[in-house]
Point group: C2
Chain length 340, copies 2
DNA sequence: TTGAAAGCGCTAACAA
DNA sequence: TTGTTAGCGCTTTCAA
């Protein structure tokens, strides 16, 4: 038994036809006699031949592959996003190359290079590193998910501002007067925070914000959450927390437990994301559900449009399509973590 | 600006040298004058050239890519496994193509074919579909994770039997007399179950097993857990549950809550996996931690050995290396879900 | 209905 | 130190 993969030439030889003919059978192109088809098919089967997609792609043809860059698929949101993107793409005959940037710009840079080197047909980026200039040199269809890369690059996301307001309102409606925001990166780019602030001000209250950096290593994370919340409480009491992701909300839950605060009696909590995993883990946690599959589908649709069109990149010189930011509303999922 | 990616020939022309020279510069092979190096480097930069890895791989060279097949990266265990495998592989200069089989044999078959077609250098499979004959036709390094494919294929996993016993003992040590096993697939292949049964019998007790199929869709899942547990209780009371994954344990927790059973007062619970995500979500849940990064590292090491060796496949004709099953012990993580 | 020949982008002898 | 040539596995004209 030969150790190397059989090639098209091997098949041709065994079937007693030319390589061209085999290629034709494989791609079902041109006129073939039934007899030829059959003998080629037989040869393919006996050899266990599988076409080399790399060689095929070398012809300037598409690779039918799309790169997906995320911080890490081990985070429930991105894991589910990856699966949804994969499903949406599979329907169109594409596959994905998943890249975990691990929150490191260096790693993301490498992956970007890798994707271009592998001639993927397009890229979907949902990573969190800011200001990677490499994206400017990308000459291929590109869509971001919840990440503003440049005004010319389409961005799909949850309507974060509204969703942030929705979460905050849920707390206020439950009678909370001192809801604190726990987020991973505070600032004007944080639309969930913007929604929170807007709602808080509308109610004539003071915004309270605590930040735990996105990339805090797990071992230190919980301690940091604890001390930050303790400090915040010491300054002035709080009666609710809106955490901008469910995992952080879980930590607040645990903090409340260790401080003997009853939830929702003493403290109401609402999270964000509403992934299946977190729904199963903490079904009683109120949260805002991001429409992950819609987001994935939309990102894929936009990318497909760019890829299947002849345009190598969206043309917006004439201000044609100004690379829209597409937003999908988040949904409030009520739960026992908010007082009735 | 040309729309197609620049090629090595473009670079050569701009630098005024031969393609070979450019290739030499890229691979840092042979003797190059500093001047040439520089001019080539400049040309590369101005063109934004990135080598086409597909063309490179076409030379029978390795693609430096490994396929990883898992049920779905959205499941915490597999998401973390994917990240760990990726990290281990990255150190050796390889990358991964992640494939989510979604528990569908058909999908796994397709992916297998895709991986071979893409000439990955090896495959790590952690999917759950049984009896895919396609694996027999795979002529490349292959390692499974927690999956018995054939005695000739190396398998890396947590020491499930011992870990199952460890979990059970934790419950018994806490004074529980009627611990129930909640698992996704009962049978002789389920070593966690074997460990549970052994420990139960050693204590002179009756094994109690409830099965919720692995692929139960989320919407129905919780209802099924509820009714199954209710039924089991009706038959005869239970005072503890060992769930063979943490997500299932979370559902037991929720069931206990809805039935007004206090945990651990009325019911002790222990899970399995101990992923970071679930630790963050339910830090008080006792569980058995699988050494995911060790498992990933071992799988990668074995695969690397096979790939870097000249052998196309492990030879065991002479009973040389009987494709070992490598096991790593699980660790008990105590928690408030077990009575002290 | 089929085949011969050229070439995709790159690397690897073998010369120069 | 550099260039020429051939060829990886496949598709694609162009002929037959």
């Amino acid at each position: 038994m030969s150790s190397r993969e059989p090639t098209l030439a091997d098949v041709a030889q065994l079937a007693g036809v030319s390589p061209t003919t085999v290629s034709r059978v494989l791609n079902n192109r041109g006129y073939l006699s039934e007899k030829t088809k059959r003998s080629v098919a037989d040869a393919i089967k006996t050899l266990g031949y599988r076409p080399n997609s790399l060689a095929r792609a070398l012809h300037g043809k598409s690779t039918q592959t799309v790169g997906l860059i995320v911080p890490a698929v081990s985070l429930p949101f991105f894991g589910e996003l990856a699966v949804e993107v994969e499903n949406a793409l599979a329907e169109a005959g594409y596959r994905i190359l998943i890249c975990n940037s691990m929150g490191r710009a260096e790693r993301e840079r490498e992956y970007l290079s890798l994707l271009v080197g592998n001639r993927v047909d397009g890229i979907i980026s949902g990573a969190h590193n800011e200001g990677l200039s490499e994206y400017d040199t990308i000459r291929m269809p590109l869509v971001t998910i919840d990440r503003e890369l440049s005004p010319s690059i389409p961005n799909v996301r949850c309507a974060n501002r509204d969703a942030g307001a929705l979460a905050t309102r849920a707390l206020l409606d439950a009678g909370c007067r001192h809801p604190l925001l726990l987020t991973s990166r505070s600032g004007p780019r944080n639309l969930r925070e913007a929604g929170y602030c807007a709602e808080i001000e509308r109610a004539g209250l003071e915004p309270r914000i605590v930040t735990i950096p996105f990339d805090t290593p797990t071992p230190q994370r919980f301690a940091l959450v604890q001390s930050s919340l303790d400090q915040a409480c010491a300054r002035s009491p709080i009666d609710a927390v809106f955490a901008t992701d469910d995992l952080a909300a879980a930590e607040v839950l645990e903090w409340a437990h260790t401080r003997d605060l009853s939830v929702p009696g003493d403290l109401s909590i609402i999270g964000f994301d509403g992934t299946e995993t977190m729904r199963r883990a903490l079904p009683h946690l109120a949260t805002i559900r991001q429409p992950i599959s819609q987001i994935a589908q939309a990102a894929v649709d936009i990318l497909l449009e760019q890829m299947e069109g002849t345009l190598p990149r969206p043309i917006d010189e004439a201000g044609e399509s100004p690379a829209p930011t597409l937003e999908f509303p988040g949904t409030l999922i009520p739960g026992r973590s908010i007082s009735a």
